[in-house]
Symmetry: C2
Subunit: 366 residues, 2 copies
């Protein structure tokens, strides 16, 4: 039995209020999947609008709300959480009753209550769990939303028809809708998103106090503090908006850490904890769903000459060896290394032989 | 004035005791830079030795210490910290007085004291700050050591000549030597390495207690918990060995977190803290030294057909456009996207035009 295939709902006029990384990505997703006819960008920044127009992300630009909003059948609020409620208030008078309204803010209780107070019924609060260190519409892409979990947080008054339209839209954009109440969402993201940010920030502050530490910080530390490298203002607004839930998460985190500190005297217990942590982490959907490492890897050392990537792929292309994945492992002064992900085990040996013939050093990987 | 160029010291017979990720990488580094004539792998595991021989990492395999060790002029102990002192004891009787001895353990006070007690003078404790989620000799590479900080921790009794030989060896392997006493090292790595591990582990434990959390964990959480995905036993041994310094680091971390929790009520202060964190993190040597994002990026959408990487690089190769970097952004059921890093701004426009001619969709990136 297959589930019924719902035909996608298409929108005549979409308004994306806030043309940044996420708003731009929603616009591109709608466009690439042909879900909309006309996309209007609304933004206080003329520069952002110009860029969005130039990149073909939007069709029309507006700097202020007005009567023109009545033609919209889909309105996506994609501004930072701090200005979300004031944007909601400024748009509300112009929204058509049949329009589907949503937002992409990272904290949901406040905006859900705001739209209820404004009497906008067809509002479905949302939060696509995706992002990038590099913000702005220039980094937007439809792919950013693909395979992302997109939380929808209806209140008790959200019409189920609006929820169902929104769920379908999320699926059409290639994301996975997950539905829960706003306060449940806010508690969960406090733990998986806002607490990690504060922990990461605390680690960077320890390093800021002793320069020798920054010298010894290696790859693990770099990964762990990546979230501290995001836009400070947006990060700050996000955690402040959710501070009640975040404080609870911090208490829970402190208890976990204290427990782990105790197990330093009980190595058997700590080993169990370490194994459980690895199992949990390796089974995270975001880890398992992410690009799987190809089974057949070949690492090629490349000299510091122009267009080595082109030369290597040409050699393999001529031999009809399909490159499934490619990664530049390192670019150094005296050359670097490239990892090739190949389709079959036999490809690795063939590719290695061909590349060696041409003077490249190669190494197989597990 | 240029500093005098020291000719590299070459070694006749090198013993790598423990042929895993790091031991194997040291062996490969010595080999690729022609710093050794003959490399003997010593390991309790016959399987690891076989693999190392098959991969060409070592020339000869030994499963137990013995008189044969007297011929070694460089001995590298590259076993997990937990078995380091017992290995030191079993090797000590056979070490030639002129041999340079070092180790790569992640905690230094214990092993430094052990070799002093054993009366081995030419021992220079070391710790290359590098690694990989994937362990084992199969993942070893000379490149793993390149540009890595390699801490050397002489005691007051370490001969300066041995230190100077070791420093030169580290440089020859492409790494950056940093010299400090063993206890200073242990305190610093407690903060930049062992504390982050425990924090990461604590976060995974919070997620293990609520499945909804794992669903909402996104890229930031994945990055933050990557270190929890390492080998549980090695991670456990590392933190237990350094538990005194680690407990101090934990206290300091708790204070930083508590301070940040307070600033949730003082958004201006928190913004300063967030900005300072970003600045510190973005200026970490490990961040700045790592592969710089090329200035001129072009993203190409690729359909789900064989050898798209080859086709794209061929098109650019024929137009003599040099590809400096390439990254597979996503592989999905219906195709994916590839980011190309190009040398010049003009290249992006030319490449985009050529690729569009061939039916590819492209997008420029900041």
């Amino acid at each position: 039995m297959s589930s019924p295939v719902l035909s996608p709902e298409t929108f005549e006029t979409v308004v994306v209020a806030g043309v940044g990384l996420i708003g731009g990505s929603v616009a591109l997703g709608l466009r690439e999947r042909m879900l909309s006819r006309h996309i209007i960008g609304l933004d206080a920044s003329a520069g952002a609008l110009e860029e969005a127009l130039a990149l073909g992300v939007i069709d029309e630009a507006r700097t202020a709300p007005g009567e023109w909003l009545r033609s919209a059948d889909l309105v996506v609020l994609a501004v930072p959480v701090k200005v979300l409620t004031s944007l909601a208030r400024s748009l509300a008078p112009y929204l058509a009753p049949g329009a589907l309204i949503t937002d992409v803010g990272s904290v949901k209780t406040g905006i859900a209550a705001e739209f209820e107070a404004l009497g906008v019924r067809a509002f479905v609060p949302g939060h696509p769990m995706t992002g990038s260190e590099r913000g702005g519409v220039a980094n937007a892409s439809a792919g950013l939303l693909e395979n992302a979990v997109w939380v929808l947080t209806p209140t008790e008054r959200t019409p189920l028809t609006a929820l169902s339209r929104m769920r379908r839209l999320v699926e059409q954009l290639g994301a996975a809708p997950v539905v829960m109440p706003p306060d449940a969402h806010d508690k969960l993201v406090a733990t998986v998103s806002h607490l990690p940010y504060l922990a990461s920030l605390a680690l960077t502050h320890m390093v800021a106090r002793d320069e020798r530490l920054s010298l010894l910080a290696a790859g693990g530390f770099r990964d762990l503090t990546r979230v501290a490298s995001g836009d400070p203002r947006m990060s700050r607004d996000m955690v402040v908006e959710n501070k009640v839930a975040l404080r609870e998460a911090l208490h829970s985190f402190s208890r976990q850490l204290a427990h782990l500190a105790d197990t330093l005297d009980d190595p058997e217990e700590l080993l169990l904890a370490a194994s459980e942590g690895k199992r949990t982490r390796d089974n995270l959907p975001v880890v398992k769903r992410s690009l799987l490492p190809p089974k057949y890897d070949l690492v090629v050392a490349v000299p510091d000459k122009p267009n080595q990537i082109g030369a290597i792929t040409r050699i393999l292309g001529e031999a009809s060896i399909n490159i499934k994945d490619i990664e530049v492992l390192a670019i150094r002064e005296h050359g670097g290394a490239i990892r090739l992900g190949l389709e079959e085990a036999g490809d690795v040996d063939r590719a290695a032989a061909l590349l060696r013939q041409e003077g490249y050093a190669t190494r197989n990987r597990g």
